[in-house]
């Protein structure tokens, strides 16, 4: 999608506006929120934010991959990946915003 990109700085600015802490502290708290979520995910725990979505850690088994350019086989080690599942509220907000209606089906 086109449009501008929202960053940590924008979130800090919103917290500064909404909550009335100093700019410095607002920025520290945005970092603290993300850090707290990241810590729990790193320990393998699911994080659920109601009306936003959930972040879940999945274990992926190892497999033989292939370098698409050279065709060479490369082993892919077992690893953990993060999946985000958006809540219906978030999906509806997005479709309401971009289409003017919730998505059907």
């Amino acid at each position: 999608m086109s449009g501008s990109t929202v960053t940590r700085a924008h979130l800090s600015e919103a917290v500064y506006r909404e909550v009335g802490l100093s700019r410095n502290e607002s920025s520290e708290l945005v970092d603290a929120v993300l850090m707290e979520i990241a810590d729990h995910l790193a320990s393998g725990e699911t994080v659920k934010i109601s009306s936003f979505g959930s972040f879940q850690v999945r274990e992926k088994g190892g497999r033989i991959g292939r370098n698409p350019k050279t065709g060479e086989e490369v082993p892919i080690e077992p690893r953990r990946v993060l999946v985000f599942r958006a809540s219906h509220v978030l999906k509806d907000e997005i479709n309401q915003g971009l289409l003017g209606r919730p998505a059907r089906t």
Partner: protein
């Protein structure tokens, strides 16, 4: 961990803040992300990950049970890509 536990933990780590301020901080963050995505904007949080919106064009789908075709309208779906630092943290334990 759910949102209320996140709020409780942050309130505990920041005893100078009221619980209701911590609630507002957390809600503001997720409301801002939601609002940006609803305008088609991308949200990039370095070290954590990036949220974006992808368009799914209209298509003719099929009811797998009856085989009947159904018109599926265009829609937008949110997408999250894990940041490099977080991806590495998930795997270095």
């Amino acid at each position: 961990m759910i949102k209320s536990e996140l709020i409780a933990k942050l309130a505990e780590e920041n005893p100078h803040l009221h619980q209701r301020d911590v609630e507002r901080i957390v809600s503001t963050i997720f409301d801002e992300i939601t609002g940006a995505l609803a305008k088609g904007e991308r949200v990039e949080l370095r070290g954590f990950g990036a949220f974006s919106v992808k368009r799914r064009p209209a298509r003719v789908g099929r009811n797998p049970r009856t085989g009947e075709s159904v018109q599926v309208d265009e829609k937008f779906v949110p997408f999250f890509k894990t940041g490099k630092e977080l991806r590495e943290r998930l795997n270095d334990s």
